[in-house]
Point group: C2
Chain length 221, copies 2
DNA sequence: TCTGTCAAGATCGTTCAACGATTTTATGAT
DNA sequence: ATCATAAAATCGTTGAACGATCTTGACAGA
């Protein structure tokens, strides 16, 4: 670890790496993450790994059981409902009060364009990422450091839920156009209409996720 | 560490302990927290301390500078303004949609009674704690795990700001009655009126804190 | 065969020691 | 007084160690 490239501190990088694996569905929910095993896989010491675990536990992505280890969080219906409640409050309000020339609008535009492009080529995972970036940009319209940080956390949890579901096309494709429509309203100077569209978007998305989740639950159990 | 009382895991307890010290103003903002020194003071190893540091850094109470150590966060006006924006959104909305028979209302009542009692005996620090408990209970009216967790974090940051200010009576006393009034409106089945009163409360509190903060800034620098 | 007990075995929780890398300070020369 | 350099203090990370706790599997008795 001496002469290697160390652009960033180890622990946050480690946390990001594990977060990516979680979001990518590389671990099953409820699965135990063995410290020795992950240490070996990620080539870090136990102490560093444990620091990263603390961060991810605080994010709600891992669950910590005393003397038993950390487990991948197992999202339940209550989590999904709670997350969507937060999204409605945060995103709709941010959009509603947004100024159409806010710099975050440009990022929304880029995200929509990327999503359109990638959905044409069938890269649904990238479409999902672009969608998430779009909504993160919406939150940034509110210009609140704390709100954006909170949303980042919520979004990671939601992506963990998505990871449970198997059909990314079904999960992301229908929303590309809705995002575009929301952005169009905002760019046209109608934030209230944009917020209303977003409200509808979220309602539909929640229904879809909950339904898929129920299906999984029934099949899995 | 073997035979001592270990009701809870060490690291979270450690984080709480440091958080309390921070809120109590035991460290100056911007002050560097030396790992060896705190290890000796708290009788824990460096690794455990570092894990606790990670948690508090994520809470915004500490700032982490690579290769330099952790520092007590130095709240600025932007933080205060941002925190109060969050409070307005979170608390007012929660109160507005609250059912007067929600269990959290009982906790609000207890907090108000405690605050009244302690303010009579001049224990302003306890009054401050009771006030914070009152507002945390307001947030719990929304029945959202994530929202309550987020608010806990915001509240800790705010208390760090309070810690900078010197006159706790001036800072807490005027609000005991306002809290009582807000609660009365809610108990009377008028959540909208309660929310309006809270809005006024927060506006006044924000002005007070910002003014005190400005005064400190001018005197200190 | 089933079940309850008990002894490994595997991990976790925590601490300690070590070492390179970086920052800060003390020192000394110009 | 200023700047370069050496010394001291930490930080970042690792590795090992040890008691405590959980899990597993064997074994004896019903």
């Amino acid at each position: 670890m001496t002469s290697r490239e160390m652009t960033t501190a180890l622990v946050p990088r480690l946390a990001d790496e594990i977060r990516d694996k979680l979001i990518a569905g590389e671990f099953q929910p409820g699965q135990r993450l063995s410290e020795p095993a992950l240490c070996a896989e990620l080539q870090v010491s136990r102490n560093s790994l444990r620091e990263a675990f603390r961060l991810l536990t605080k994010d709600g992505l891992l669950r910590h059981e005393p003397n038993r280890g950390v487990f991948v969080a197992t999202p339940d219906m209550a989590s999904i409902i709670d997350i969507y409640r937060m999204r409605r409050i945060i995103e709709c309000r941010a959009l509603e009060q947004a100024h159409p020339k806010h710099p975050a609008v440009a990022r929304m535009r880029r995200a929509v364009d990327t999503a359109l492009e990638r959905s044409a080529s069938g890269d649904w995972r990238s479409v999902g990422s672009a969608n998430m970036a779009f909504h993160a940009a919406i939150v940034d319209l509110a210009d609140s450091t704390r709100l954006s940080a909170f949303y980042t956390q919520i979004a990671a949890e939601l992506r963990l839920c998505f990871g449970l579901l198997d059909d990314p096309e079904f999960l992301h494709a229908p929303y590309v156009d809705q995002n575009a429509a929301i952005l169009a309203e905002l760019e046209a100077g109608r934030p209230a209409a944009a917020a209303a569209a977003l409200e509808a978007y979220l309602a539909r998305s929640e229904r879809t996720v909950l339904a898929a989740f129920t299906r999984i639950r029934e099949n899995g159990a």
